[in-house]
């Protein structure tokens, strides 16, 4: 079944499954988010890291239940331009440091879930590794991460803004019409850079994004 679906993949937003309504314009159906949502709910108050921007619909969604939503706003700073380097300077050191400066102080093992959306595509390998280490530090054991990797040759020049409409409908608003070459990180890259996480499940969307739900080990 899964292989058959892979063959029918098209470069367009995924239509709704049979019997469901078509998602409104500017939105898409995300089973990965639905799974993430289900698995990030603790018995008590949920603590969620939103690596992107604050979005009204996300606030409404998470505010339906006791929740502490931490907004990092990385989508407004990625990709990070570290500027000119000294001759003997390793660019990855500067890149990692620049990203680290954007990450807030968060209590260790305090977060039940994290939403990265497509932000990893705007990171270098070194930055991705550092983000994985930071995630491992701040997420509880079995905490879950949602992220998406572009599988096509290009991607938006700037990260789009994401918002949660409901448990499976996601808003996606481009911020720039330009496109840039995509790093085409693979699942293997992800597993190499985030060794302390395992892929719970992945979903290949017709919009050439592979969504992942990762679990912190």
């Amino acid at each position: 079944m899964a292989l058959l679906q892979r063959k029918t993949r098209r470069p367009a937003e995924a239509p709704a499954a049979e019997g469901q309504q078509t998602p409104p314009p500017g939105t898409y159906t995300s089973q990965a988010f639905a799974l993430w949502d289900e698995q990030s709910r603790p018995e008590g108050k949920r603590h969620v890291l939103e690596l992107g921007s604050a979005h009204t619909s996300s606030i409404e969604f998470f505010g339906a239940d006791p929740c502490r939503l931490q907004i990092l706003g990385l989508d407004s700073v990625l990709p990070i331009d570290v500027g000119p380097l000294d001759e003997d300077e390793d660019p990855s050191d500067r890149e990692v440091e620049a990203l680290r400066e954007q990450l807030p102080g968060v209590a260790p093992q305090s977060q039940h879930g994290a939403l990265c959306w497509d932000l990893p595509n705007y990171l270098t390998h070194a930055q991705l590794r550092m983000l994985g280490e930071w995630m491992h530090e701040v997420l509880v054991v079995d905490g879950v991460v949602h992220l998406g990797l572009y599988t096509g040759s290009s991607m938006p020049a700037l990260p789009p803004r994401y918002g949660v409409q409901d448990a499976s409908i996601i808003h996606r608003a481009p911020r720039d019409a330009r496109e840039v070459t995509c790093p085409r990180y693979s699942q293997k890259d992800l597993q190499n850079d985030w060794p302390d996480f395992e892929v719970v499940r992945s979903f290949l969307l017709r919009s050439e994004i592979q969504e992942f739900v990762l679990r912190r080990l």
Binding site: A2, A14, E38, R41, P42, A54, G63, I71
Partner: protein
């Protein structure tokens, strides 16, 4: 000769229809801190307050609305019944009713209120602490309280899945 009645002689009421405007205080008799005013210290009061100037310290209006105008700059820990932000805030905001960050608003800090509104274009960085007073809406979207690693029901025919 034609004596006007009291109602005719009075200016036309402007507040018969609520018209929220950026330059007006939330209520007709609220206090206003002007754009040239700088306050370094604690503020408390028993009326609505609009800040167009700069305030650094603590603000405490437990039964009233605080509005930070588009040119207002606040670096403070704020507690109020309701808070509306058009300007810039660095600090934690706590409201008994609601916090609204307008499209021109820029907040860096932590928010705590039963209702939080964020207009398109508003900038916010920090955490939002939400304790819904009425949990009924949440039950509509809430799923299994037991987080288990299981596949969601009704796997979509539109997406390919690959187990990790």
């Amino acid at each position: 000769m034609w004596k006007k009645t009291d109602s005719e002689s009075q200016p036309e009421p402007t507040n018969s229809i609520p018209a929220p405007r950026a330059s007006r205080a939330p209520s007709g008799n609220g206090a206003i801190i002007g754009a040239s005013i700088v306050i370094d210290g604690d503020l408390s009061g028993d009326e609505d307050l609009t800040i167009h100037g700069r305030v650094k310290g603590q603000i405490n209006l437990p039964k009233h609305t605080l509005r930070i105008g588009g040119d207002g700059r606040v670096e403070a820990k704020v507690k109020a019944q309701s808070i509306q932000v058009d300007g810039t805030v660095k600090g934690d905001l706590t409201a008994e009713h609601e916090i609204v960050i307008r499209k021109s608003g820029n907040v860096r800090g932590n928010l705590m209120a039963p209702r939080i509104g964020l207009e398109e274009g508003a900038k916010f960085k920090g955490s939002i602490d939400m304790e819904p007073q009425d949990s009924g809406r949440g039950q509509e979207t809430k799923k299994s309280p037991q987080p288990q690693h299981r596949k969601p029901d009704g796997a979509s025919a539109t997406e390919n899945t690959a187990a990790g």
